[in-house]
Symmetry: C2
Subunit: 142 residues, 2 copies
Amino acid sequence: MNLRVEDYISIKLHQTDLKLTSEIKSRLQPYNLAPEQNLVMMLLWEKDGLTQNQLSEKLGKDKTNIARMVVNLEGKGFIERKFCPRDRRSLEVYLTEDGRKLKEEVVPVSEAFNADVTEGLSKQDLEHLDQVLTKILNNIKG
Amino acid sequence: MNLRVEDYISIKLHQTDLKLTSEIKSRLQPYNLAPEQNLVMMLLWEKDGLTQNQLSEKLGKDKTNIARMVVNLEGKGFIERKFCPRDRRSLEVYLTEDGRKLKEEVVPVSEAFNADVTEGLSKQDLEHLDQVLTKILNNIKG
DNA sequence: TTGATATAGTATGTGTAGCAACTAAATGGG
DNA sequence: CCCATTTAGTTGCTACACATACTATATCAA
């Protein structure tokens, strides 16, 4: 076959992802939030009190990374952790007042980012993209 | 709007990329090659003697990362660097015998990976994906 | 009740991404 | 020809991904 670098769709996908990450990183910088930290916050804005383990499952990320992100977010004063009374191994993650207020500023940034990214793409394009990404994910898992 | 985590296409794209990276990483591990190091090698297998700066441009990566990858690849004995005689600031990157031999083992792994990733996707699906990713990239750049 | 096993989270190490500040070499204008 | 500017690459910093090994707590079974 002898494919060239530009023939691998996974490479293009990777490079697209890097650009997206870089862009959202710079947009979030004024709010002292890293991109992955924002994902944690998004889940907590929906519902806080999740354990680190639940965050890890929902985001499909390694628990060591969740631990680091949560420690950072705690250091920034956006969340606080309490030992779960039922299971003292678990830490429940709660928003602080600062963390709660941050939602008003950051959610519009995320939504504007999403609007910019999907500019010029039809609903069909996005659905198709979603389906193809799902297929790719399944191809890898199995 | 109030989108949920799963409504952001960039998040899905990011998670897909992570799975792909993780998979190719484990497939390349037996050859002592990290995924991004493999990208450098792929370019060099097409044509070696490129400077670090040219590698950086072709891969769209920061020169600091290229420098680090190249140092690692040199440590592994896959490449060697020579000062460019015309411009003594530049380092030209050449394959060693080991690096050259590696191609025979690693290219089939990359191509098998690509075949697995794209399994069940039509040519149209892939073209559409490529186009949509290109549009997304352009949306971000501008 | 106790001992094996599973689970939640932490610590550590490697690889990657990109920014800022730096060194050394090249270049171009006065 | 020399000084200012640009360019190639390195070093240091922060954040992220993931693997392995560890501690502490929970649970289940004999």
